[in-house]
C-alpha cells in the first residue's frame, strides 16, 4: 500500500478517507484535521492560553504535542487519581513527556493529587461516598480542570476527546433518549457564566486508531493499559459495536457524529441560548464559588463527605 499523496510506502491505511499515508503525510493529515477543528469551531487563537487536560493516555499527550507543534500556547494539567500502579505509570508517562516539551516549547505542567486533598484515592473515595468510581472521577476532573483554568487565567481548556469518544457518547445518549445531554455534545462549549472556563475538543475529527498511530509514529510514550476502573464500561461496549460497524462500513462513526453536529448547527441551541440557559439556572457555590444549580456544588459535597469519614 502506497501513500495517497507522495506514493512512497504507506504506514497506515484510512478506509474512511479512502486514503493511505506515509509518516510525513500522515502527520500533515493529523495536524490539518486539528487545525480545521480549531478554526471551524472557533475554539481559540494563537494568542490564547490553552490548558490541556492530560492523563498519560495517547489522546491527551497527542493533543498537547499537536497544539505545541501548531504553534499554540498550550500548558497542561494532570490529575493523579491515586489508582495504584495505573496512576503511578500514567503520572510517569506525563512527567516524561512534560520534560521534553518544557525544554523544547517552554510549556508548563500543572499537577493535582486527589489523595493530598481528599485523603484517599478515587476508588476508596467512591466507596466511601457510595458513588460509582467513573462518576466520582468525572466530577473531580471537571472540577479541578475548571478550577486551574480559572485561577491561572487560561482562556480555554482542551480535552483529548476523539471521534470514537464522541460517537460512543452520542450512541449512549440516543439509546437512552437523554435528549437534554445532546445540546452540550458539541466540540466547543462557551464560558457561559463567570467561573466556567470555555471547553473545547480539538480531536473530534480524528479516530482513536488515528491518534494511537500518531503517538506510535512520533514516539510519544503513552500508557497503553486501560484504566482498571473502566473495564466492562458501557462506553467501551458502545465503542466495540461502532468499530465493528466501521470495519464493515468505513465512515460510519464520522457520519454518525458529524451528521449530528450538522443537524444541531441548523437548529438551536446556539452558543447564546446555551449561555442564557446556564445563566438562568447556575449561581456560585456557597463553598467554592464555582457555578452550580444547588447551594453547594457536587465537588464540595463530595469533599465534605470524604473529610467526615476519611481519617486524616
Amino acid at each position: 500500500m502506497n501513500c495517497t499523496k507522495c506514493k512512497t510506502k504507506a504506514v497506515i491505511g484510512l478506509p474512511r478517507h479512502n486514503a493511505a499515508f506515509c509518516k510525513g503525510c500522515f502527520n500533515g493529515f493529523v495536524h490539518d484535521q486539528v487545525a480545521r477543528a480549531i478554526k471551524s469551531e472557533k475554539m481559540f487563537g494563537k494568542e490564547d492560553r490553552v490548558l490541556v487536560a492530560v492523563s498519560g493516555g495517547k489522546d491527551s499527550l497527542a493533543l498537547w504535542d499537536i497544539l505545541l507543534k501548531l504553534g499554540y500556547r498550550a500548558d497542561a494539567l494532570y490529575v493523579n487519581l491515586g489508582i495504584g500502579t495505573y496512576s503511578e505509570q500514567s503520572h510517569a508517562k506525563v512527567t516524561k513527556f512534560a520534560v521534553m516539551v518544557t525544554a523544547s516549547h517552554g510549556a508548563t505542567l500543572h499537577l493535582h493529587t486527589v489523595e493530598q486533598e481528599a485523603g484517599a484515592g478515587i476508588k476508596e473515595l467512591a466507596q466511601l461516598i457510595h458513588r460509582p468510581t467513573c462518576s466520582t472521577c468525572g466530577t473531580i476532573k471537571r472540577y479541578q480542570f475548571n478550577r486551574v483554568a480559572i485561577e491561572q487565567n487560561y482562556d480555554v481548556m482542551a480535552t483529548g476527546h476523539n471521534l470514537d469518544d464522541e460517537a460512543a457518547r452520542l450512541l449512549g445518549n440516543v439509546l437512552h433518549w437523554q435528549e437534554e445531554y445532546l445540546d452540550k455534545q458539541g466540540p466547543s462549549l462557551p464560558a457561559s457564566v463567570d467561573g466556567f472556563a470555555k471547553k473545547v475538543k480539538p480531536l473530534y475529527r480524528l479516530s482513536e486508531r488515528e491518534l494511537a498511530a500518531y503517538a506510535v509514529l512520533n514516539r510519544i510514550d503513552y500508557i497503553v493499559e486501560e484504566c482498571p476502573m473502566a473495564k466492562g464500561s458501557k462506553m467501551l461496549q458502545y465503542k466495540e459495536v461502532l468499530n465493528r460497524l466501521e470495519t464493515e462500513s468505513p465512515g460510519t462513526k464520522q457520519m454518525f457524529y458529524w451528521g449530528f453536529l450538522e443537524k444541531q448547527s441548523k437548529k438551536q441551541p446556539t452558543a447564546t441560548t446555551m449561555t442564557e440557559k446556564d445563566r438562568a439556572i447556575l449561581h456560585p457555590c456557597t463553598s467554592c464559588s464555582q457555578p452550580t444549580t444547588a447551594e453547594v456544588c457536587s465537588y464540595c459535597k463530595m469533599m465534605l463527605r470524604a473529610k467526615t469519614v476519611v481519617p486524616r
Binding site: 476532573k141 480535552t159 457518547r169 445531554y181 486508531r209 444547588a294 456544588c297 465537588y299
Partner: protein, 91 residues
C-alpha cells in the same frame, strides 16, 4: 538439515500475552485469525507500523496494540442517570 524459522511471535494486550502464529500471512489475515477488528488495533512490526496488506513472516516480532480507551468520563446518561447527588457541573 533445512534452516528453520520459528513462527512469528505476536504480542497481545488485555491481558498481556504472546502467541505464536505460522507465517507467511497478511496483516489483515492475522487480525481475522485472532478475531480482532482492524479499526480497534494497530499492528507494529519491530518499531514500525504496518498496513493491512503487509506480509508477515515466520521469525517476525509483532505487537498488536489495542487503541480503545474508556475516555475521560463526561456528563452522560451512562454515569449519572440515577444519581441525585450531583447537582451540576457542565450539566
Amino acid at each position: 538439515m533445512e534452516d528453520y524459522d520459528p513462527p512469528m511471535q505476536v504480542q497481545l494486550s488485555h491481558p498481556a500475552r504472546t502467541v505464536e502464529v505460522k507465517g507467511p500471512k497478511k496483516v489483515k489475515e492475522l487480525l481475522r485469525e485472532l478475531n480482532l477488528v482492524v479499526e480497534a488495533h494497530l499492528v507494529i512490526k519491530g518499531d514500525d507500523l504496518v498496513t493491512e496488506d503487509e506480509m508477515l513472516y515466520d521469525g517476525d516480532q509483532i505487537e498488536i496494540r489495542p487503541v480503545i480507551s474508556g475516555g475521560t468520563p463526561e456528563r452522560t446518561s451512562l454515569v449519572n442517570r440515577k444519581s441525585n447527588f450531583v447537582s451540576s457541573f457542565y450539566e
